[in-house]
Symmetry: D2
């Protein structure tokens, strides 16, 4: 087996003074919150960006070569897998995530395509054992092939629904076989191009039907992982149905899927929806549905999914605060749905991207842990809501207060005199003093 | 009783060649879809913008005088009411909407404030009879007073929750007494300034508690109208909980409020949330929750709520299409939550604003009716989804298909060959040919 | 020579009741403003979207086939040209626009690439005569090839600058040879990915140098057309230097290019920059730099360049108002920088897209002409500024007023009493009454 | 003279462990880049937000009391001044900035208003000496009074232009008298509400005329400071003419004002225009026009000017990098155009806001200095452009290259082989390692 990333050895933690091919903040064995950082963050490699993405954008062709020295499709698929495991190994990443079509190319018929998949899955199984790596989650690419131009589960064409179902079935099978801890739905074309040609309610109901079948089928073959929906508000479709966490949670509840499904929340999708990443994680956490994270960041002033590697420690610290408050990942992890910038063409750049990302997440996690340990933020918040711990406040929360009673209480008060400052600037100062303290 | 809008008589329909103080497209008695336009659209005057707004913005003071010749607070409140009914009368508007604090000013204590309310409600009742006008909906202003700086139902302070409850109780009472067909919750401060000081889940649960109490109390005193939530994504708060229709529907379902609550959808709030108005109405319609409409429009490139009078016939035609498809207003109507531009200081401008708005809505409604009558759009869409009417498609919809069966079907197909064009350009051409035909 | 668009004949004007393969509003021979509509609008086919675009987006492959039955690169290039001229002929479009790389594919070396270009240009010359078509403008694609990943004129690499110069030189030569009326710079990669690696001032100066060389070279070989810059704020780069009209005008003035350069203003680029299309045209018009138009429209709530065919008569009417006020196109025209939606896969869709676009532009132009003929808008505006026609106002405009004199004038006034209403609602009502009158 | 901020003493630098009423990162006497931090940053208090703002927003009234115990307008103005100087003194802020109307309220006539101004300026002069404080810049509020509803210099009404001129004249006089180092134009209403009623070119020319008169008058009375324009893209107007730095620089050059005018760049205005703050500062720096800074930050997902205190060390570090690269402030400084959140009602909050802001700016400045001292970023960039230091690159930069020569060079090359990675992830990693190193 060839070495694909020549001249780059295992990436080690070297602390703050380390060079660009070392971790400066991520020490996998460092224990925070009673667990190693490795286990707190559960980093995963994204198969697609890492092994398939070549720097293409809508205005220009490949700048990065991911042929791995092969031209035959299946030989290339195997080389890709080998390169991927070497990459994980060198970075000390324990998990990976894939779409079915990342790992094996489509053939002329579904049957032939499935055979290719089986062949590659056999090989990935070998590599997983060899390198001691795990599958964080699998998913289906039901958006790139032209057949999905109107959607997959939400296609106006029943044949396409059937094709998508077959593809999802197979993807759940291989995910289960590889011991995947999760299965993600990112509905790349589940949305509309224009309302003028769209039965929105019908499409959403079909989406619900597909997810129920997927869940039932998965459970029937022994898949015990979490199912996830990954919200995204738009792109490629004008509007994507899985707009944001609140929208998806409402959908899951409506369709009785809330027990088996959680959310795979992506930073860049959050900001495209007009929310901070921390906001989306908070929404998911409060609903008990924070399942997994796609770590990346968008270009703040660009309105499409740029999938930069995460570097903003600020934003990520507030995100990691939500993760810790949620009790950590139930079965998910930190998947780098991030790609190199198109002009990052040095052989070292892929490592640098991951290293910067992993250092960022580690710094962020440790800052979040410090904010919680510090306690000032949380105790301020507890105090702020303390009027609900007794008296009229407790009655409100217990559901025993009535409008009549509350009115009497308010009339007796005459005016509210107990409001206190929200103290946003004070709290922001605390956060800064912890980040930079 | 004085005449407040001197020199302006009843606004009549004069057709396309009419002057600026006539309707050019809105003929109240014209019958479309089997009903008069008046009854299709059920126009309502917003008490606040129309009678209270004075052109103030965050960078400058009043340019428009709404003193109506009075300085004493209660005399002013009465003059305002008189002016409002004269205005509705002259425009031929049958409905109005108000916040409690629009109709009577707050006093030093809640008790005194409620007395003022009662006094004005007595007078409004007289005016309603005199002018034969109806209350479309009432609501509570629980956001302007500093006591609500942390929210009302979602305040961190139980005293404030109690105050808000008392205020809502009273507002439901007067709405009921005036025969209001609806009661709106626009949660002006129900959201957060910063996540750093906020228990989001706790606040949302309290919001649910408040709405349940409101519903139960309303039903107990004989309020048979619809309750509404009016979604808005942000402003004044950094994030408002009632972000958009999908978010609110999820919330209502979660709290068991979906039977009594519908949505009051505002155009400018839709666009602030990153959605077209038609999108938001579609979401509401598909959920059976399209209750009422706040008609206005935003400045497309401004990120705050500008509440312009609606003038874009295009956008509104697609919105009215949704209204007609929803079967029209259940109990709601078309409320002009629209204000004059700050520099519109001519005595005629308020009439011109409403006239342009009403003409726009009428044109839009008639175009939407024509689109439906024309039938090409709807039959294209029906045809587009026809594969679900039989065979494998029907099984999918009926819920009898399984993954195994769908996989077999797809394997047999090998590839999808039945996709047809989405034909967006064709459909857009049809819409244009109807609008301008 | 094959027929490529079989079964579709010449598109005729059939008026409002026409079918989807007829013009309903665009009558090429109709005279408006003293010229035929054909000459008012000077429609142009975009070579790229029309003949090269295949429905690819960043998440999926081709849905539309533009092979025109050929696989050999040069045979394909010729078939493409033939198809393009047939298309123009059938639609009655008189002009076309191209990038160098649209018409002939790159070869292994620049020399070989140029030979290919020459070969195709020979053939296009033949087709132009045969079909009596003209070149509206040519341009260079200096953004798709990986060599331009850091920019072309603004590349950090002098070799790339040289390459771009050579390519622009050749493109100006062929544009001149084909009698092109203009030459466009759309700086697809002229911007930055990150400020961290960028010398912005240096890059902008190099851009200035390139444009000066291009101008001087063009003039030296007899190119008498206009040069254009086409502003775009972002995409594919994080920030594009030619952000919007105001930015580009400032740049052109700084580099002494304002005599030879005008602006090619694109609707979708305007809205990506946070401006209405009419705003951008106004800026260009007021500077005497409105040169040509790229007609399309964006999806309002999507933050990338969707290049939809223009269908919004509203927005376009206000744009055409600017065009007419500017005295029409100096040498430019209306180029459809618009592409079919990915799912528009019917053979007729390309025609439908252009027909809808051309009908939209024609309707818009005629409405704009009517607004001007109606005169109410313009006379309102003239009246609004009339205080500058005499007295102190005239002195201000003439530049003879001083602060001392103005202060004395203001002190004498004490307060301003002469402000009149901006009457936005009134004016919007007029516009609607003309559009729908 | 009363003490207004009782119980709060001088704010001292206490280092990282300090409490909320101490500086944790800003040590005024610490020397960085050869100057004290105090002199590097030149902090200024904004008179308006600090002494006048009361937490009002468009949906609600005052939550913060700035009466300073007085009701009479002039007594209040004096108390305000006293409070302001006490505040600066306690915080160790050396500069302040004001609008004319911040320091003294308008009276019924301009003459009377000017008298009030003179009276307060006398008093401020006394306080400046007493506390040893300086005026960073003055400005005119020509946007709040209803007379400016159509603009000031860009009003359609010549009387308003005259009034604005008189007001600016007076404001320049008092700024000069108080030794102000700068004079700012923030054109609060210089823009349009709608293009329908606007002569954009005429208005912009009038703006040019006003600025020239202001400059000439200022120089004639001995004002030797810098004039500034403060760009803002929108709000309160639909479009503001001083959209962003590039737009303003183009305008200044066109009107021959570039020698006397620089830019006062505000962070929140930058982001409203779709730019990062660092971008705007870079544009200003490259043009030699970085004059002064309004330090604040926006709520990332809100589309209006929230004027939060700056807390994001990340964004500010990149901004301070631009400041240092520009050689520091020519005559300007760091003005806190920032206001407390509406719910920050604690007496300490105003201090906390400033302290957090000053600490943020100091941290940012020191990080920026470290980035420069570290040198890796700058040397990477220098290397990246090194092909322009000799050979064909040097000829390009020197302006001696021709298209013919460049073409020959490119043809000889055949293809570019010298592109190197842009290495964005590597550079972002360096920045993070310095910030957190």
């Amino acid at each position: 087996m060839s070495e694909y990333f020549k001249g780059i050895g295992k990436i080690e933690y070297k602390g703050k003074g380390g060079d660009d091919l070392s971790f400066k903040f991520y020490n996998p064995e460092e224990v925070v919150n009673g667990k190693s950082m490795k286990d707190n963050l559960k980093f995963a490699m994204s198969y697609w960006h890492t092994l398939t993405g070549q720097g293409v954008d809508i205005f220009g062709g490949a700048t990065q070569d991911k042929s791995f020295g092969e031209t035959d499709p299946m030989a290339h698929a195997k080389a890709k897998a080998e390169a991927g495991f070497e990459f994980m190994d060198k970075l000390g990443i324990e998990y990976f995530c894939f779409h079915d079509r990342d790992i094996a190319p489509e053939a002329d018929t579904l049957e032939e395509t499935n055979k290719r998949l089986d062949e590659i899955v056999d090989y990935i199984e070998v590599l997983m054992k060899k390198y001691n790596k795990k599958l964080l989650w699998g998913t289906t690419n039901a958006f790139s092939n032209p057949r999905f131009m109107h959607g997959a589960a939400t296609s106006c064409n029943a044949d396409v629904f059937a094709f998508a179902a077959a593809q999802i079935k197979k993807a759940i099978e291989i995910t289960t076989r590889l011991g995947g801890a999760g299965y993600v739905f990112w509905g790349g074309r589940e949305g509309y191009a224009t309302l003028l040609n769209t039965k929105m309610g019908f499409e959403l109901d079909n989406l619900g039907r597909m997810l129920k079948m997927a869940r039932d089928y998965g459970r029937s073959i022994g898949f015990t992982g979490d199912f996830y929906i990954e919200p995204k508000p738009m792109e490629p479709m004008t509007h994507q149905y899985d707009y944001d966490c609140a929208t998806v949670i409402g959908f899951l509840n409506k369709h009785g899927l809330e027990k088996d499904f959680k959310l795979n929340v992506e930073a860049n999708h959050a900001t495209l929806a007009g929310h901070s990443f921390a906001h989306e994680l908070r929404v998911a956490r409060e609903a008990g549905m924070l399942g997994s994270i796609d770590a990346n960041q968008g270009e703040v002033f660009n309105g499409w999914d740029t999938d930069n590697f995460p570097t903003n420690v600020y934003d990520m610290a507030l995100a990691m605060y939500e993760l810790i408050k949620a009790g950590g990942y139930p079965k998910g992890g930190t998947n780098f749905d991030a790609k190199l910038r198109r002009a990052s063409t040095d052989a070292k750049d892929l490592f640098r991207g991951y290293i910067t990302g992993m250092d960022t997440m580690a710094l962020a996690y440790k800052i979040a842990a410090k904010i919680i340990e510090d306690g000032r933020l949380d105790s301020f918040v507890d105090q702020r809501y303390s009027s609900y711990n007794s008296g009229i406040g407790k009655k409100i929360v217990d559901g025993t207060a009535t409008f009549a009673e509350l009115e009497k209480y308010a009339l007796d008060l005459g005016e509210v005199t107990t409001n206190e400052s929200g103290a946003q600037e004070y709290l922001e100062g605390i956060v800064n003093s912890i980040i930079f303290g």
